[in-house]
């Protein structure tokens, strides 16, 4: 296949390049078009193009009407005219000549004449009548090519009223010996059916004949008619269902000639066509649906090549399965298929998966639950079309419990959407969602519209605003005391801005309504501010003015400064309407406010202040550095006591400002979090020094981890530090981001179903394995392949033969059949395993060799599981250094542990799933995700079934998406215990940055060149390792040992060090001993990497 693509790719540019080859037969006829196209390509402005085309049109016009123009020249002129019209310049003068050309030209000229007619004219054009005679003549021609052309043009366009004139001729062609003529005749009849169904009513039996035609082309042409007929009246064609099923069976079974294959898939578009017909026939009809189950099952199984077109078929298949009368095992398989789609890394497949999911959740909302995390990820997808499709999906699962969240999401999208059509569509959907749900929510949601939605068309905008004003007024006229404050504030704003849109309403009325809000006891002072602001905008006259005056007087003595301010404004502006109009111009509120973020308007002020002797501004990192330097002095006595006691030292050291002032880049977006953290710290530690100013800690607390560790008891934190020493990640219960997603998930998918009764999704990786691949049937471990799983009947052989394109393989060797069942996960295997002998372990047909299910009972269940688990490490990893195995959770007899292995160029996460129970666990599925890491499967989710006291091992390649001090992986494991409903548990795993850091070996020269090229940097002073004779060497040694940094060169008190994050993301470090500290300067092309690495260095030095 790739050959074809490549060839195509190389050939296409030449299609566009217009170099005509001398000696070619077509040279003369095309060079003029070539010149025209070339000329237009070279032009730069629309104006020039117009001039050139007008000139060209004049030329064409002159030539077409000249009596000396030959048909051959006419053909060439027509092509140019087609080109001009394509660019948008009308060529109506040449229409009549196109008809003439079709009439008088010989073969190719005639074809171009017909082509021009079909491009120029539409169905109702009167000139088309002039074509009827030509068509009649050509249909009767003895030249098959002419008959063919006539039929082609008829099937594209024909005047409705003239159908009877040619219908007998076309009907006659249905019996023509040539298939192409029969096929085109069928298509012509299809056209007649489309434009005048009554005219062809009497020949329906002829359609049946075409459906049974021995030529597949004629048959597939007739499907167009049947799709149309069945769509309109499914009841009338139920008897044909077995025929369509048989046809599909033959197509899928590879019975068509080879030239119908597309990339080795037999007639894919025909399959899609048939599946559509079947879904119409099977809808709401159990008995008809039952005829289809077998072939649908087979289609699902056979679409096994990893090619787009097979996925296109699968999509259609899934849609069909969910349209017809349901059959549970087919639904399961289809759902699994969707899983493969949505989890695919290929974005086009993901899109189609979402589309399929959108379709199926309308039948079974529970399906959305299975994919909730994927859906949430898609909601944040950078590609808008994916986002949009996800919203479409959410819209289908809206209920009154999740409507608020979903509409919120839609509104978020509206803010970034620029397309009018999308906006209108989405707003419509928002309204629809809201209308069907509770009124209270509708208000909250509605106010958001008026604030956020900006229509491009003024008309829509005005309508919406007016609608908002009206509904708010009616709200205020009722009992407003129960409305939420925030909502009241918005009402005030909207009324202030837009109530003038209602011409029939005096501002006084609204002012009175608003004044009511002020008198309400429940109104907060913030709301009152909004009320006053709205009044200011309304500028009432007459009686209301007195009211306004009263109000402003009351509040100008308020204790609330803001309120006082607003009251003052109201007082002044209500008396001076000119000033009011100037300060608060109408309809300016929606204009974007320009913000000068560089604060350049302060330049004058700054230079004045500097001149007056003020200290110049220092950027944060500079301040920090100075700060930590001065603080470092305070620390010296404690620094000396470092090596004495591990636990006490690490605790004291925790509080060192050096640690806490680490880096600027990290603290940026986690202010909120560190606030919480800092308060905990203050409470727990009883810190005596340096922490007098809480604000300081809040700003400088950079890590997310520190507060958690500090919250623990001293002994515990010492333990943890011990762990960290050996670079073992500590399991975290629920990292922040994960929690957020979980929360979102629960709010989005609430009310769909408590818990899906089946866990359908099989594999989490892309279904990319080629079907030809053989399973390691006779694996090294005790795997017994269940012979029941692979029925090897004749049809399979056929398929096998066909898909392999190897005619010499007549029999089907039994050891190869397993491969056939592979495509959509182990559908069969899973299904039958329930009936199969429970003592057998069975590997799913296509599994990566890495997945091993071994029977290994735990001999010491209460002892450390580590040694026994480590023995499960795959052979190629066991030699490499790996972290300590951590138990992530242990529940319901299922233990999940993990460790990571540092390979030369990558990191592999190994997850051990052990079944500690005495019974089987089934349908085990593991999914691992991370925000900062790219997770790709080495081996996908574990075997479908886990024998008692055995361990399944899964591996994932991890690559860094963006650097971070720690990387949190969140994983979901679901399984089915022998009795009871399926269980799902979430857990997380944390890796330190150091796991991804590798030494970067380069020379001093290379270092120098790189140093200058890198843009992201950070500087910091670190504590030196004291005690030895050469503190610099000792410190470097620690860094080298713990972080695998490469020391490039040491010159006196300075050293240069290099490392990289996964091969291609270098980070360089410059160290200098200075005043008892180690000043380090890190540079990297990767943002955040210097900061993160600095943090690691700091940790490494402090955890000694």
């Amino acid at each position: 296949m790739s050959d074809v693509v490549e060839k195509t790719l190389t050939a296409l540019p030449s299609l566009l390049s217009l170099d005509s080859q001398p000696g070619s037969a077509k040279l003369s006829s095309n060079s003029k078009l070539g010149n025209l196209i070339r000329g237009i390509t070279e032009l730069t402005s629309k104006h020039e193009e117009e001039k050139l085309i007008q000139r060209e049109l004049l030329l064409i016009k002159e030539q077409v009407s000249s009596p000396n123009t030959t048909m051959r020249q006419m053909k060439e002129l027509m092509v140019r005219a087609i080109y001009c019209e394509m660019l948008g310049y009308g060529v109506s003068f040449s229409y009549i000549h196109a008809i003439k050309l079709a009439q008088q030209g010989n073969v190719l000229e005639k074809r171009v004449g017909y082509l021009a007619v079909s491009l120029f004219l539409n169905e109702s054009h009167e000139l088309l009548l002039l074509l009827v005679n030509t068509v009649l003549k050509d249909l009767q021609s003895t030249n098959l090519i002419e008959v063919c052309m006539a039929l082609t043009v008829v099937s594209q366009m024909f005047p409705k009223d003239m159908i009877p004139a040619i219908l007998p001729l076309v009907e006659e062609k249905l019996n023509h010996p040539k298939e192409i003529i029969r096929r085109k005749a069928v298509l012509a009849l299809y056209k007649f059916y489309l434009i005048a169904p009554n005219q062809v009513q009497h020949i329906h039996n002829k359609f049946r004949k075409a459906l049974c035609d021995k030529d597949p082309g004629v048959m597939s042409a007739s499907l167009h008619i049947y799709l149309q007929l069945i769509q309109e009246n499914p009841e009338g064609y139920k008897d044909l269902a077995p025929s369509f099923v048989t046809i599909l069976k033959q197509v899928v079974g590879g019975k068509l000639p080879m030239d119908f294959n597309y990339h080795s898939v037999p007639a894919p578009w025909l399959q899609i066509h048939l599946l559509r017909i079947l879904s119409f026939l099977g809808k709401n009809d159990q008995s008809t649906s039952e005829i289809m189950y077998e072939i649908l099952d087979e289609s699902l199984r056979r679409a096994e090549m990893n090619h787009n077109i097979t996925y296109a078929i699968l999509y259609e298949c899934v849609k069909c399965i969910y349209t017809i009368h349901p059959k549970s095992d087919l639904l399961e398989k289809a759902a699994k298929c969707i899983g493969n789609f949505v989890l695919s890394p290929k974005i086009n497949l993901k899109y189609l998966g979402l589309k399929a999911l959108t379709y199926v959740v309308q039948q079974d909302p529970k399906l959305a639950l299975q994919h909730q995390m994927t859906i949430i990820e898609c909601l944040d997808h950078p590609d808008l079309i994916i986002k949009r499709e996800t919203l479409e999906l959410l819209f289908r699962i809206t209920n009154d419990q999740n409507v608020t969240v979903i509409v919120e999401k839609m509104l978020d999208f509206l803010r970034i959407s620029e397309d009018d059509h999308t906006t209108i569509d989405l707003v419509g959907k928002c309204f629809h969602s809201v209308e069907t749900c509770y009124n209270r929510i509708s208000q909250t949601v509605f106010l958001n519209f008026s604030l956020r939605v900006r229509f491009d068309s003024v008309e829509e905008d005005k309508k919406l605003r007016l609608f908002a004003v009206n509904s708010y007024i009616s709200l205020l006229q009722g009992d407003a005391s129960k409305l939420p404050q925030r909502f009241l504030q918005v009402i005030c704003w909207v009324l202030g801005e837009y109530s003038h849109l209602r011409d029939d309403l005096e501002p006084d009325v609204i002012v009175r309504l608003l004044a009511k809000l002020l008198d309400m006891k429940t109104s907060s002072s913030e709301t009152k501010c909004w009320v006053l602001m709205a009044m200011t905008k309304l500028c009432p006259g007459g009686a209301a003015l007195a009211l306004v005056h009263n109000v402003s007087e009351t509040y100008s003595s308020s204790l609330d400064t803001m309120l006082r301010q607003r009251a003052q404004e109201l007082e002044i502006l209500s008396q001076d309407s000119e000033l009011q109009a100037k300060v608060l111009p109408r309809s300016a509120s929606m204009e974007p406010v320009e913000v000068d973020s560089s604060l350049s308007f302060l330049d004058g002020f700054v230079s004045e202040a500097l001149a007056a002797g003020a200290a110049p501004y220092k950027p944060p990192h500079q301040r920090q550095e100075e700060l930590s330097r001065s603080k470092a002095l305070n620390l010296e006595p404690y620094g000396l006591s470092l090596p004495i006691s591990m636990s006490s030292c690490s605790i004291t050291d925790r509080q060192s400002p050096t640690l806490l002032s680490i880096s600027s880049g990290l603290s940026g977006d986690s202010t909120d979090f560190s606030h919480k953290g800092s308060s905990t710290v203050l409470k727990l530690d009883g810190v005596k020094r340096l922490w007098g100013r809480d604000g300081y800690l809040a700003q400088k607390e950079p890590t997310e981890e520190a507060p958690r560790i500090e919250a623990a008891s001293p002994v515990r934190s010492a333990d943890q530090l011990g762990n960290n020493n050996s670079q073992t990640p500590t399991p975290t219960p629920t990292p922040e981001c994960d929690q957020e997603k979980q929360q979102l998930a629960s709010s989005l998918f609430v009310g769909l179903a408590s818990q899906s009764s089946i866990c359908l999704m099989g594999k989490s990786d892309q279904p990319s394995q080629r079907f030809r691949r053989k399973t390691k049937a006779s694996g090294s471990s005790e795997q017994i392949t269940n012979p029941l799983v692979f029925p090897s009947d004749g049809s399979d052989n056929l398929l096998y033969k066909n898909l392999l394109d190897s005619p010499d393989l007549d029999g089907s060797p039994p050891e190869q059949t397993p491969g056939l069942d592979a495509p959509n996960g182990a559908c069969d295997a899973e299904e039958e395993s329930t009936d199969a002998d429970m003592k057998e372990i069975k590997t799913p047909p296509i599994r990566d060799e890495h997945v091993t299910a071994e029977a290994s009972p735990h001999h010491d269940p209460d002892g450390s599981k580590d040694p026994s688990l480590t023995s499960h490490l795959p052979a190629e990893l066991s030699a490499l250094s790996h972290s300590k195995t951590t138990t992530l959770f242990s529940k319901q007899n299922l233990d999940v542990s993990a460790c990571h292995v540092q390979k030369e160029d990558s990191v592999v996460l190994v997850v051990f799933i052990s079944n500690c129970s005495d019974s089987f666990l089934q349908q085990i599925r593991l999914q691992v995700d991370s925000e900062e890491l790219e997770v790709s499967c080495v081996s996908d989710s574990p075997s479908e079934e886990l024998k008692s006291h055995s361990v399944a091992v899964c591996q994932y390649f991890l690559t860094v998406k963006r650097p971070s001090v720690h990387f949190d992986l969140s994983a979901t494991v679901s399984w089915q215990p022998p009795a009871g409903s399926p269980l799902t548990t979430q857990f997380s795993y944390r890796l330190p940055l150091t796991a991804f850091i590798r030494a970067l070996r380069l020379s001093t020269e290379e270092y120098g060149a790189k140093w200058l090229a890198f843009s992201h940097d950070t500087k910091q002073n670190l504590t030196l390792i004291q005690g030895g004779r050469d503190p610099l060497a000792a410190t470097l040694d620690v860094l080298k040992r713990k972080l695998q940094l490469h020391v490039v060169e040491v010159i006196g008190v300075e050293a240069i060090v290099a490392c990289c994050l996964q091969q291609d993301q270098p980070c360089l470090m410059h160290c200098r001993m200075h005043a008892g500290m180690l000043s380090v300067w890190l540079r990297s092309p990767v943002p955040d990497l210097p900061d993160c690495l600095l943090y690691c260095c700091q940790r490494a030095l402090q955890e000694l």
Partner: protein, 151 residues
């Protein structure tokens, strides 16, 4: 259903357009300009399907050439995506020797594949059969031989 097929170069200039629903001449240019801009602005790793007005655009890039197909929402985008590939493979098969932009021939090929917005033929040899027959006849005429009609 397919609404239109466009072939556009990287500068956004239309090389071929075929509409399966009546669209006014004046509106075509705008539709093409905006729709094509949608496709051209997208990255390699983005989805090959774009939402545009009330329909979807499916596009595929071949070196400097873009093929853009407008479809209704009910259409299977991926099958259209592969239809484009099939179309290009047919063009490749036909134009392998005479390297030229034959607007008329490309149209004739397209007419064989898509009619009234539906895919009517995807078998490469059958798509090309009428066109090669015409070519043979035209050659025959030039050599002033008796025309043979064979399909």
């Amino acid at each position: 259903m397919i609404k239109f097929v466009l072939m556009v170069n990287q500068q956004g200039q239309t090389r071929l357009s075929k509409y399966y629903e009546p669209v006014e001449l004046s509106k075509r240019a705008a539709l093409e300009a905006v729709g094509v801009r949608c496709c051209l602005s997208r990255g390699k790793h983005q989805c090959s399907f774009v939402e545009y007005k009330d329909f979807k655009l499916v596009y595929r890039q071949y070196a400097a050439l873009y093929v853009v197909v407008g479809v209704t929402d009910s259409e299977n985008e991926l099958s259209i995506y592969e239809l484009i590939q099939n179309f290009v493979e047919v063009l490749d098969k036909y134009f392998s020797r005479v390297i030229m932009f034959n607007l008329d021939s490309v149209h004739i090929i397209l007419d064989e594949m898509i009619q009234n917005g539906h895919i009517v033929e995807t078998n490469k040899s059958r798509i090309l059969a009428p066109l090669t027959a015409i070519d043979k006849m035209a050659d025959g005429l030039i050599r002033e031989e008796t025309p043979k009609t064979e399909l």
